[in-house]
């Protein structure tokens, strides 16, 4: 039985999320609590090992959690119950999509086959409809002529855009992007970020982990700074980047900005 959602409730709610590796010896998430509205585009930044990717993986249901709860659109999604068992509502999980740093396209299938596999086998969609939708999606993002290509024939940017399209085929309510441009050559980053921006402008709720501060400023409606497994600071992009409140955030931003992003 799912609780009735009141209209003022947030779209995604994370309550005191905890996770550690090695039976509690290596804590990674130390009580993350946050909420986002349906219109939110959440960008998470922070140092490596601070728990950003782990948080995303937990939100996708790829990892077990050791404490806390995630609620999506008023429905109990992931919960850590007594005796440390992680319970994931599979129906809700199917409404979340994720794209990874290393594309993870299926190398033995063509682009088209990659896109229609899940709709066919998971949703039981009919093949002609799925193919039509796939073609429309690829055309929309300028990948139409790659329909019959294999992943090994694509550039990094194209692979990543296909990966995003593949996730979009399932019409997720929430999209998670885990450092999707970190593995790309610099000149290929723009096309992927453009695609994500277009999706953002279309109103798709998303959580993005990125090192690219310019991109973060562009699409975020809310920024989280995540370090040591907790949310250290959060805010809207304008104030966050211009006047960060705590020193840790300031140091981090200073280091990043002195790098080559923005």
């Amino acid at each position: 039985m799912q609780p009735h959602r009141s209209p003022a409730a947030p779209f995604v709610e994370i309550r005191d999320l905890r996770k550690s590796y090695g039976r509690g010896k290596i804590p990674v998430l130390n009580g993350i609590t946050d909420a986002m509205a349906k219109s939110d585009r959440l960008v998470i930044i922070g140092p490596s090992g601070g728990g950003k990717s782990t948080l995303l993986r937990c939100m996708m249901g790829l990892e077990d959690i050791d404490g806390g709860k995630i609620v999506l659109d008023g429905l109990n999604y992931i919960e850590c119950q007594e005796r440390g068992r992680t319970v994931i509502d599979r129906a809700v999980q199917r409404q979340v999509g994720m794209v990874f740093q290393h594309y993870t396209l299926f190398p033995h299938l063509t682009v088209l086959q990659n896109l229609i596999l899940a709709p066919l086998k998971r949703n039981g969609e009919r093949k002609p409809t799925a193919i039509a939708r796939a073609e429309a999606l690829l055309s929309r993002f300028g990948l139409a002529e790659k329909l019959k290509s294999y992943p090994s024939q694509l550039s990094g940017g194209q692979k990543q855009r296909v990966a995003i399209a593949r996730a979009l085929m399932l019409e997720p309510k929430l999209m998670l992007f885990d450092e999707v441009t970190s593995a790309l050559d610099p000149e290929l980053v723009a096309e992927v970020e453009a695609m994500i921006s277009e999706l953002a402008n279309g109103g798709l709720p998303m959580v993005v982990v990125t090192h690219d501060m310019g991109f973060a400023k562009n699409i975020a409606t809310k920024v989280l700074f995540c370090a040591d497994g907790v949310v250290m600071e959060s805010g809207d992009p304008q104030t966050f980047f211009s006047t960060p409140k705590i020193k840790r955030t300031q140091d981090f931003l200073a280091k990043i900005l002195h790098g080559n992003k923005v």
Binding site: M60, L62, V96, F100, P107, K121, R122, R166
Partner: protein, 223 residues
């Protein structure tokens, strides 16, 4: 002692040698096919969580990889009939022994291919919400089979070479024909060199094909 090299011996007995080659090739093909199929099944057992299946299949594989093929052949030829109270004959013994050996080799090829599939593939499958059977059938197993092809091909070449052992239990393959003709004509140099050349003429192109396929598959699968 003068050595007279007489190619006429080769020409005269070439048909007999080629008959032996035919037996070798047919036997090899049969055992390769059986070994591929059974090897796949055994590799599933090796990857299963069932303790009995895992231990049984592991013992099987380690034993057939850790002992000489000749002893396996002798065991099947001499011992199995005693246990089963059935006279197996040379052909059946040879097929059983070589097939079991090929099974052990191929199961390892499949298994290492399965293990080489990165964890990210499994992440992608979860992120797409693919049901377990669909991910196995359409994502994991096809990739495992494709990745296993180079090893499976080189296992096939190995089996072709090991097939020469069946001559030791009297099966009329290329090796057996060669030995007999060499003894009968007392011209071992011409005959045995020809036999070696025939094996080489088949084996060498096969190994080149294996290298070629390996390169092309690695490129396609972007490993």
């Amino acid at each position: 002692m003068g050595l007279e090299f007489s190619p006429s011996v080769i020409i005269e007995y070439l048909p007999a040698l080629l008959r032996g080659l035919r037996t070798t090739v047919l036997l090899s093909l049969l055992c390769i096919v059986i070994g591929l199929v059974l090897g796949f099944l055994v590799s599933l057992m090796r990857s299963s969580n069932n303790k009995i299946l895992y231990v049984g299949s592991t013992v099987f594989v380690e034993f057939f990889r850790g002992t000489p093929v000749l002893i396996q052949l002798f065991w099947i030829f001499f011992c199995l009939p005693v246990i089963l109270h059935v006279d197996l004959g040379v052909f059946v013994s040879a097929v059983i022994a070589l097939s079991l050996y090929m099974t052990a080799l191929c199961s390892e090829a499949f298994r290492s291919a399965l293990l080489s599939i990165g964890a990210e593939q499994k992440d992608a499958v979860v992120a797409l919400g693919l049901p377990r059977w669909a991910s196995l059938l359409h994502v994991i197993l096809p990739q495992a089979c494709i990745r296993a092809i180079p090893n499976l091909l080189s296992n096939s070449v190995t089996l072709f070479k090991e097939s020469a052992l069946v001559s030791a239990v009297g099966m009329a393959d290329l090796m057996f024909q060669g030995e007999n003709i060499s003894n009968a004509t007392a011209r071992p140099i011409e005959v045995l060199t020809t036999v070696a050349a025939i094996y080489f003429a088949v084996g060498f192109p096969l190994t080149q094909i294996v290298s070629l396929v390996e390169r092309r598959i690695l490129r396609r699968m972007a490993i």
